[in-house]
Structure formats: C-alpha cells, structure tokens
Symmetry: C2
Subunit: 768 residues, 2 copies
C-alpha cells in the first residue's frame, strides 16, 4: 500500500478505499500514496500551481489578485470566529498558514470531542462509505470508468482496475493506448477514445462515427457499426445477465464480479442500521447544522469579495454559464403552450392524417377531434388540462393522468407516444422543435428521460429506430432511459408472467447490441447518446414487506410489485455487468440515476446510496440526517426540482434545497416536467428564477448550482472541459475556471476545505 | 331623493352617496332609486337577463348550464355551512331563492350581533366612505367622469355632475350629445367622444386625431390641435391652480370647488382617528377574517365547477387573457439581459457617437467606456450590477443606486435618460424595442411611469417632444407621470426656493396646454396617452411631524421635505382643478395612482384612501385592518408587486397578496422594475408564474387577477370592452364575459354578493 512508488500495483476495490465520487469529482484521500496524483500532497501542489497560473493571468485585475494571495480571505473568517468563541473551545477550522497544519488543527478539535460512542459512529459511517465505493466501483460508475471520459487529455484515475474484472482491453485498441501515453505510466487502461467517440463542443449535429458529413448533418449510413465480439452472455438463475469468455461458457464462471442480491441486501441492511442508530443520527444532525452555519458565516464575510471576483470576469454572467436540466421527462419537456400550439397547427394543417386505430377503424385527426367534440379553436390550456397545481398535491396518481391531454389517453397516444399508428411522427416533430429552442438558447442543455417499459423485447429497437429515423440528435441534449416500475400492471394484463421477463426485455437487447452492434445497428448508434438509466414511479405507494425473503426474478410471479430496493438491485446489477463488457469493447458505459427520496420509505434513498451515481429529488434526505451526511461526504448528485415538489409533495418554501445547498450537498436545479409545472417559454430559467427569488440565492450560488448541474450530467469530458474549465474534475478551486463558470474560486476553496475536514475526521477515527 | 322618477334632479355629490368605485366598477347602491340602472332592483334584472342570454348560448354545454340555473351552486355552500353551525347562530348569507330575501337574511344576522359600540363603528366607517366619495367626485376620478369613457355606447353614470362645477359642456359638442342619446334621458353629460378620441383595439399605432394615416403610422403633422379657450388660470396663495371665467377673473371666484388643504387635513384626521380606534380595528379585523374564510369555503366547494366552466369556454386560457402591467417604471421596463445586449450593440456599432459632455469635453461612447476601462466583451450582468436581490433588502437608498449601470451615473445618463446630449435617442431606441416585444406578445400591456421632477418648467415639453419625435406610441402601452418627492434635493442644490415652484413646474404647463393646446402642441398629443399621475419616493424615510401647522407652498422654504400627506394634497388638488377644465373642453382627464403603503406611516395609505383612484403596493394595509376594510368596501385598486417587495421590504411568502385576494380586495399583479427584479424575457408572466407557484393560485384566480389589472388600468373604454366584455363595468357576473376574461361567472357572482352584504350591513346601521 505504499502507493506512490508503485502505481501499477493491482488493487482489489472491495478492500481499498476509492477516492473518487461518482458525481465525477475526485475526492482526495487523506491517507498517503494511493493514486498517482490524488493523494493529499500532490493535490495541494496542483492547486497551488493552478493558483499561481491564475494569479499570473490576473495581473489585469489587481483587486481580485490581492485577495487571491490573501488565502481566500479566510483569515477574516478566523477573526470573526474568534470574536464569538475562544480559540480553545472552538479552534478555528481555517488557517492562513499551511494546509497541513490546518487539517491537523481540525483533527485536534475532533479528537477532543470524540467519545467512544462517537468513535463507533464514525467508524460505522466509514464502513458505509466503503460499501458505496464497492458498488460504484464494481458497476464502473466512477469518473474515468467510461471510455468516453478519456478524450486524449484526461487519462483517468482508474489505474489497476483492469484487474478487477480480469478483462484485457480490446486487442486492436490496446496498442494505440500504450502508444498514446508513454509519459503517464499509471494509465494502463482504458485506451484513448476510438475515433467514433468524437464529441466536440462546437457542432450541433455530429455523425455517429464522429466524422461530420459535408452539410454537418447526421447520416446513419455513414456510421461505422463494429462487428461481433467473441464473448457470450446469459441470464443466470438469480436474474442477472452474466458474461463469459467462449472458453468459460461451459463452466459458467462469469467474467465479472457483480455483487449478488444476497450481498446487496446484507449491505443495505447494514447501512439502514447505521442511519437509524440514535447516536449516528444525532451526530450527523449536529454536523449538518455545523456545516450550514459555517456556510452562512462564510457567506456573510465573503459576499462582497465574491461579487468583486465575479465582476472582474469579463463577459460571463448568469445567462451565459452553461446549465443542464439534469432531470426532465421527454413526454413533458415542452411547456403547455407549446404543446397546445402544436396540436392546433396539426389540426389545421393535417386534419386528414390517419393517426390512430380505435374500435376497428382507422381515424383521421379530424375524426378524433370530432369524436371529442372539439375544434382547433376550442382548444385552450384549460381544456388541455395538463398543468398540475391545484388538484395533484399528494396525488401522484392524479398527476400521472395529467400526461393525457384533455384527459384523453388517445391524444397522449397520438401526440406523445413513439409506438403508435404514425410511428411517433408527431412526437418526433415537437421534440425537434423543443431541441431547436434549446439549441437557440445555447447555454441551456437537457438530459431527457425516455421510457423503456420492459413489456416486450422490441421496445429498444422501436425507440432507437424512432430516434435515428427522425434524427433526434442535438448537441444540447443527452438521453437517459427511464424504466417505470410497473410490473404489477403488466402482470395484471397478462403481458408478462414473471419479473424475469422485465429484466430480459430491458437488458437482453443491450447485451445483444454490445456483443454484436450489427444485430441492432440503430440501437448501437442511439446508445452513444444515452448516458444512463433511471427508475421511476410513484414512490409514495405502499410496499409489501417481504422481510428479505425475496424470490428470484424467474420465480417472482406474485401480483405484487417488487419493492423499490429489489428493482434497484436488478437495474444496478445488470447495468454493472453490461458496463464491464461495453468498457472492454471501448463502448460508452452507463450510470444509474434513479428517482429516489421524492416520497416513500428511507430504504429507497439507502438503496440509491449504494447503487446510484446520483439521484433525482432526494427531498426526504431532510428526514434522515445520517444518510444526508453520507450523501454529503460522497458528494452524490441531487437533481432537485422544487417547483415539481411544490405541486406534488412539498410546498416551495419548505423544500430542503436551500439547506442542502448550505450544507454543501451536490445539488442542481431541474424542471422535471415543464408541461405540468412551468408557465414561461424558458422553464429552466423559470426554475432558477423562482429559486433565486424565494431562496434569495445570490449570483454566486446560481452559478454554483449551474456548475453542479454540468458536473452531474452525462455530457462528455471534452464538452465539460469546454464548459467548466480544462481540469474541471479537480476538487475545489483547482478545478474551477471562473472565466467559464462564473463561480468564485473562494467559494469552491471553501467547499473543498470544509469537505476535507469532515473526511479527515472520519478517516482518522477509522484508522485509529 | 325619489330618484327613479326624476332622473335629472340635480344632486350635490358631497351629500349624496356615490355609487361607483374609482376602480371603474360600479358598486350598486342598496337604497332605492338613485341612478337610472344602478339601483339594486334594475341591477338584478340586468344580471338575470345577462344570465338568461348566457344560458341560451350555452346549451351546447349542458353540464355548465345545469349549474348556472342552480343559482351558482350556492345552495351547496349553504348546506355546508349548515353542517357546521345551526342556521340560528349563523344564518347563511346565501340563498337560492331571492336576492331580496338573501340580503335581508344577512342583515338579520348583522342586526343580531350589532351592539351600540359596533353601531358607532359602522357609522364612522360610513362617514369615511362618504369622505372618499367627496374627494373622488370632486376630482373627477370616477368611471364616466373622463370624456374618453364615453365611446358612443357607454353613456355614463355621472348624471347631475354638471352642477357640481357649474360648467356647461363645450357648446359645439353638447348638441351632438343630446342628439346621440334620446332614449337615455339621464345622460345629459358628458358628450360622446369627439372625433379625436378614437382609440380602437385593433391598430397598434393611431394618429392623434384618430384617423389612420395611409400606412397606419403616427404622423404628428396630421394631428388636429384645438385652439385657445377663453377661461384663465392662476395659482392661488394656497398653492392650488384655480380656473376662472374671463368675467370672474377679477373677483377671484374660482369656477371649481376644490377641497382646501385645511378641509383635507381635517378629513384626513377624521379617517386616521377612525382607523386607529380600538373597536373599529377589532371589528374590521373580524370582518376581514370572515371574508377570507368565506372565500376559502367558496373555493373548496366550487373549484371543480369553476374549472368546468372555464373548460367549456373555447380558445381562452391564461396565456390569451389580457393582462396589464399596472405598475412599471419606464427606466427599468426592460430586463437586465436586454439592457446589456443594447449597450453592447451600441458599443459595437456606434463607438463614435458623441454621447455626453463631461469635464469640459464631449466624449464619444468609446471614450466613455475607455474611461471606465471596459470593453464590450467585458460587460456582463455582474458588471452591470443592476439586479436588486442581495444587498437591497430594507435599503431603498441602495436600490435607487441600482438604476446606474455598473454603478456609473454617466451610463444611466447616456442610456436611460431623456434629457441628455443625444436627446434621449438611445433611451427611445430601447424603449421602442421593449414596445415591440410587448406588442408581439399581444396579450401583455403596460402602463409605464415616466418622471416629471418639477425642477424646471420645461420638463414637460422635453418629455413630450421626445415621445413625439421618437413616435413612442403603442397600442399596448399607456403612460403615467411619476413625480418624485425630491423637494429637499432641489432645495439643497438651489434649483428651487419654495415648494410652490415644484407645483408650478409640474402643473403650469398642463394648465397652459389645456387652455391653449397650440401653445404646447406635442404635449397636447402626448397627454392623450397619459392616464394619470403617480407620486414616488422612498416611503420609509423618516418624516418630520409638523402637527398640521403646515406653511402654504409659497412659504415652504425649509430644508425639510414636506410630508407624504402634504405632497398628496397638492398632487390631488391641482389634478382635480385641471381635470374639471379638461373635461369641460372634452379632453381626457387624469387619475391619481400614487405609490402608497410600500413602507412608512399609516397616514400615507390614509391620504391615498381619500385622494387616489388606486395605488401601487399597499402591503402595509395588512397592519391597518380598518383601513384595509375600507379599501375593500371601496374596491380601490392595488397594483401589487410581490417580487419587488421580496427584494426590498417583505419576503415573498409573507406578502399579504394572497390574503388580500381572499378577502376580495381589488388586487392586480405588476412588475415594478423588471430591470432590477426579473430574470426571464417575459417579466409579467414571471410575476404571475411565481405567484401561481408560491401562493398556489388556480387558473381561475390568475384570470381574476388579470381581469382586475385591466379594470384598474387607464386603457380606454372601447379597449376594455373588447378585452373584458361589452358591459365590463357592471358589477358581478353581469359585467363578465367569460369568453374574454376566462373568469368563471360563479366567482364574480360570489365576489359581488359578498360585497353587497358588507355594504348593506354598513348602510343599514348608518340609516338606522
């Protein structure tokens, strides 16, 4: 474990502490020598170097410069703290001397207050963090795990991982890899991006093979589709797809080490035990309070300096920092006025389109509206009735019905479905219109969630063909696949027999296309724009308790829906298996970003803590302080949508977003469903605007939220580099380029040091 | 007083109860026979007739229809009330039988609870209402007082008013008047609109004489400017302009009866006494609580019916009901992004424009920015620094500085001033751009406030020439003149000696142009688009108390600014005098719509209660229940701006707007300063959106707020007719056209009956 000297030392992740957060930011390890440049010392060096460069380039702004050299004005915070308390009672966590001294300062403080009970709590927290590391590592959800992260400049922090899976890189690419990086010996895997990974920040439409067609338009026929791979795959009797080499296929010895469902539930149980432990809750609650107060103190003392720093940056402001709408559903990505206008124009211009087959006959659009007794003129936002404000609070069931225009499922089918009589043409057209709007706004980007239900095995091909045929690619848009947890519905209608069928319908096409992309060429191309998976449904539904005697999927034929935690596992485990194979082939991998903690039980958030790159909502973390603290320590991304919550679960002013933000959780703002919630033509700006008004967020905090949203997103390394700064993945101010993000370095330095102290406290106790 | 039979009986308003509210809505009198169709009985008939028509036209919607015939579903409210209380204790205020019975029902209830103390309180309220009537009547601020109200269809409710002033209508117009209305004998004055009042709802630009120029553009040379009038005017020794006939000029017997400042302060004192009286406060508080609860009950029982009614209306919805931004300042009518873009484009395209004279030299735009050490690229929202969120709370002084881009008064002078080196050309250009945006949105309209400071007597001409030269006319825009209360500033700089000079500078040009429009032809044309006056400044400044021994304006030479109430009087009295003359000439009159109750003392709101058509803000009414109750009874318009308050005086969730709305106050939503407060391209929609989200307002309430905004506004009769319905000025459902307003009839019927009951209670006690 004397890492520095021997960077190629094989490490098995289950026993080693992994230093990155799945959010994409590297969280440095305080122990010595682990990964090449992420140990404490070299990080400090890098940060200092970065600052020196910044200082050199900032000579034009002497005011800002003088502050930067003033150790982020932290001395004044120390002074302020000294006024209120004695140094003995509350030694300042800040220091304007040396980082080394500072961290030990903080540790002395922790040591003093540490009782045996607290030491036990801290150790249990440490165990929880390690458990998460295990799951995230084994599913390749860390920064650098995705071959696409490696853009020829970034070479990863994933040294040694090849040994986890025992997999060697594709033979035809490994030579290029080693040729490319002679000077970074610790990067042995994965290879630099193959040519078909070329995503740039400039073009709005890129052909799938990365080459721009002459008129800069997508041309499917030009896409290079790789050929068959020798490995084979099969779903095991526990419902997880496993991959085998040809040789091993007989012995059934899987290539990849995926945690079993038994292991998962044992670990889940452990974390649930920790976060419901009295002393753990109490300690976490106090740490969170402390962090929030500390941020308030920081803000009061530094707001004018932050503003001065931001003003000294030319050109950049709230409107032209990049924002990603990290959580928005495709079927509600347009606002209500847009959908209304679209429906009206269709009724006017294409009344004779045959759009639906009902009751034995084909109906034209005109006939459909005749049957509804409506003309184009009659239609209004009120008749459309898709806004969810008055009658949907605590009525998620009602909210789901809001997806039906005029309460008519046939209109939803015609206008908002992919698999219909017109092959989703209308839906594609309005999607293209929204894409154009987003592209025009330039700085706004979206990650749209589109459904795969798992009801039949051809859903993937239909979706992919729809995307390809309608050329629904945009530089401003990436995709997530949402799998609704609707087992009981399909079971009731007889569409499926066992839960295993859902697993098969969702994952088999993905393994097929990974083994042989030419078997589903459209899907292969589409998947290059897919960044991850989501799991969605009404979390507030009651769940049957099985006391962990869960049948395996092939035996799950009850009328009951499996509980949230069970769904999580099968999404996780199969994605993990898939990711290993895709990585081995140099294809992009996927992260898991489910809805969790919008409502329902604590185990939803706990399952997400173990399995998920980041989550949507998470508002219930406010009721589980220990889990919230763990989310903080791991900087797990929360894509929050307070306007959505306001309509469904929690009034705006009670939303924990501002508290989470103060504590330092990795929070971003997203719209969820502009069709149901938003009024203006710019739903994401509306979301920021309301937050700014009601939570009184200053420009610096809006910029930090926007930066968080880019980091949480699945946009490619090269694009993030362009949007946030060349080394955006470095922690604290070192990773920041204020000229791009508009976030004051002061702010990120504060965030980083504060996090370091919390981690130091926990690790010290653990190793003690 | 047996009105019905003798409609031409002269009445002096000071002793007669006036039945309209200055807001433009007629509040019907419950006493018998006063004005032709505004007595209770004929109003009921009209309402019933209206409903019968609606019912006939609604046969296509049987569901809605069945409810309408069900007496607005009020029987179910009665049932609900009966469940909770016994009929004896709380006789239901509703009845599905007869209105007559219903009102007496309510009165019985009031009678039962009426103690001698309450009777005295009610009588004092009645006296306050009559005082307001006196002031509003004497200043011609009621609906129908403005010649422009008379569009050939509406013939007014102002019978008998000719006798107030002793003025006869212009000779050349009175014959047309009587010829026009042979069947409405009670309309003897004013005449139908002369030809140059032709404002239509269709054209965006109208020539001042009402004739459209060939290309539908404004052409000043085509405007007809009336000639000199024989009357003369002079400021009296109490600081009020008086008008005399030529014959009376020697005797100094004024033509018009304007309340003196002494009378005003006596009346003001009376109202102040009433609203600070313990029992009055307590009773009003209880009535307000009762009204709010009643509305909640109404909402819970009728929300689905309201929604059904709204859905049955074709086409109309929140987006295409007309909204007026009833309170927005010209210098901040654009959002920050717009101003930034404008400044950048000027720096790029016109760097060599000579824009300012400073320190003895003319400077080009380029030189100005060189002196600021800024390039076009450097500029951002942050450097502009005009948003007021963080540092302006309870700092109105700081807020005022936010009008300076980059904190530089020279940029404000170049870009946001009319009277500068470039004759306000830049300001006109950006104003035109905002006008274009508003016109494009079609359903959004503004009333912009532009300053006359009263520092010099040529301000009016400069402003009018600026407007005319730059053709700043738009169908979607009307103007208000705001007079900042800055006496002490001009006094200090020596610009003026006494307060009288401000009165002269503000009002003399107006009297000149009314006497002889050809003396200021541009001003005459501009004034046709001006709907009223405003009075603005930081209300939270401390005011010196003079114990009502105020010197007259010509003697006011102290360094102290006169108090708010004193300013109010002089704005009021001079406007009143001016209005009488303008009306006599057939020119449009002005209403007084000051800022009041944003901060400061209770006497601000009390002075506004007496003198003002409507007000901006009024948030402090929440602390003065008796005054709030009086504002309710008189339906005085409140143009509220909760996002502005949120940045300056009161956080959003504590804003009383939702409570006021429940009670039934005449509330509208406005932006105040989009430049300082709003984020999106559609500031008025942003204002509605945040209110909808945070206050959880349903579509019906948004529509009611929008309707209120139109009613409060100064848009012309013909336009309001087009926007709200042919007889929009009738109270309750009778005045509503849901096909235009999208407000359910149910809602307005509820509002109206509730108001009737409150008025009935007060009047019964008064006459008892």
């Amino acid at each position: 474990m004397s890492g520095n000297g021997s960077p190629t030392l094989p490490l098995t992740p289950a026993t080693n502490f992994v230093v990155e957060s799945s959010s994409g930011l590297i969280i440095p390890e305080t122990r010595d020598g682990f990964y090449g440049y992420t140990d404490e010392k070299s990080l400090q060096q890098m940060e200092e170097q970065k600052w020196a460069q910044r200082r050199a380039s900032d000579v034009a702004h002497p005011q800002a410069d003088s502050t930067l050299s003033n150790s982020f004005k932290l001395s004044s915070i120390r002074e302020a703290l000294q006024i209120q308390t004695t140094e003995e009672l509350h030694p300042s966590p800040f220091s304007d001397d040396e980082d080394k001294e500072q961290v030990s300062d903080a540790q002395h403080h922790m040591d003093a207050m540490m009782t045996p009970e607290l030491a036990r709590v801290v150790q249990s927290f440490q165990k929880c963090l390690e458990l998460r590391d295990k799951y995230i590592t084994k599913s390749l959800q860390r920064l650098g795990d995705n071959p696409r992260d490696h853009d020829g400049v970034f070479h990863g922090v994933t040294e040694g991982l090849a040994d986890v899976s025992g997999v060697k890189p594709d033979v035809n690419q490994s030579s290029a890899a080693s040729a490319n990086s002679p000077h970074e010996p610790w990067v042995i895997y994965p290879p630099p991006p193959p040519p078909h990974w070329h995503f740039t920040a400039k073009e709005t439409v890129i052909s799938a093979d990365g080459r721009l067609t002459p008129d800069n338009e997508f041309d499917f026929s030009q896409c290079q589709i790789p050929s068959n791979h020798e490995w084979v795959f099969e779903i095991d009797d526990k419902g997880v797809y496993q991959v085998y080499t040809n040789a091993d296929a007989g012995t059934k010895k899987p290539l990849f080490d995926i945690p079993t469902i038994r292991e998962y539930f044992v670990d889940l149980d452990y974390v649930l035990g920790v976060i419901s432990d009295g002393p753990a809750k109490s300690m976490a609650y106090r740490r969170l309070k402390y962090l929030a107060s500390k941020f308030e103190m920081y803000s009061l003392l530094n707001e004018s300096q932050e503003l001065a720093d931001m003003k000294s940056v030319p050109h950049r402001d709230f409107y032209n920092v990049r924002k990603v709408d990290t959580h928005v559903h495709l079927a509600s990505c347009m606002n209500q006025k847009h959908l209304l206008r679209f429906i009206k124009s269709k009724m006017k211009r294409s009344p004779h389109d045959v759009v639906i087959f009902r009751d034995g006959t084909d109906l034209t659009l005109e006939q459909v509206f005749q049957s509804l007794k409506l003309s184009a003129y009659d239609l209004s936002i009120n008749t459309l009735d898709m806004h969810a404000h008055q009658d949907s609070f605590h009525r998620f069931d009602k909210f789901n019905l809001k997806y039906n225009p005029i309460g008519e499922s046939r209109l939803r089918e015609i206008f908002l479905k992919i698999d219909n009589k017109i092959d989703g043409r209308y839906f594609a057209e309005i999607t293209r219109e929204v894409m154009n709007d987003v592209e025009q706004s330039k700085y706004q980007n979206c990650e749209w969630r589109v459904s795969i239900y798992g009801r039949s095995v051809d859903e993937w091909d239909k979706l992919a063909k729809w995307i390809i045929k309608n050329e629904l690619f945009s530089h401003n848009v990436r995709w997530l696949i949402q799998v609704p947890r609707l087992y009981q519905v399909y079971k009731e209608t007889g569409a499926i027999d066992t839960f295993e069928e859902i697993v098969i319908n969702v994952f088999r096409p993905l393994f097929e296309v990974t083994k042989d992309p030419q078997s589903h060429p459209e899907l292969h191309v589409f998947l290059q724009r897919v960044v991850g998976f989501d799991s969605v449904d009404d979390e507030s539904k009651a769940e049957r308790r099985f006391h962990r005697k869960f049948p395996f999927p092939r035996l799950w034929d009850s009328q009951q829906n499996p509980p949230f935690s069970y769904w999580m596992y099968y999404m996780y485990a199969n994605t993990a298996s898939l990711n290993h194979w895709r990585k081995a082939r140099g294809f992009n991998t996927f992260v898991f970003r489910p809805h969790a903690g919008e409502a329902g039980d604590t185990d939803h958030l706990t399952a997400a803590f173990l399995t998920s790159h980041s989550i949507s909502h998470g508002i219930l973390l406010r009721k589980v302080p220990a889990l919230q603290y763990l989310f903080y320590l791991k900087q797990i991304g929360l894509a929050m949508s307070p306007l959505s919550n306001n309509a469904l679960f929690l009034t705006y002013e009670r939303n924990p977003l501002p508290d989470f933000f103060k504590v330092g959780l990795n929070v971003s703002l997203s719209t969820d469903d502009p069709l149901q919630f938003h009024f203006t033509k710019e739903p994401l700006l509306e979301e920021y605007s309301v937050a700014a008004h009601i939570y009184k967020l200053p420009q610096s905090s809006l910029a930090e939220l926007a930066r968080n949203s880019v980091i949480q997103s699945g946009f490619e390394m090269e694009i993030k580099r362009h949007w946030l700064g060349q080394e955006w993945y470095l922690p604290g101010a070192a990773g920041n380029d204020i000229h791009k993000t508009n976030v004051p370095n002061l702010r990120l330095a504060y965030r980083h040091r504060t996090l370091l102290e919390e981690l130091a406290m926990i690790r010290k106790q653990h190793s003690a």
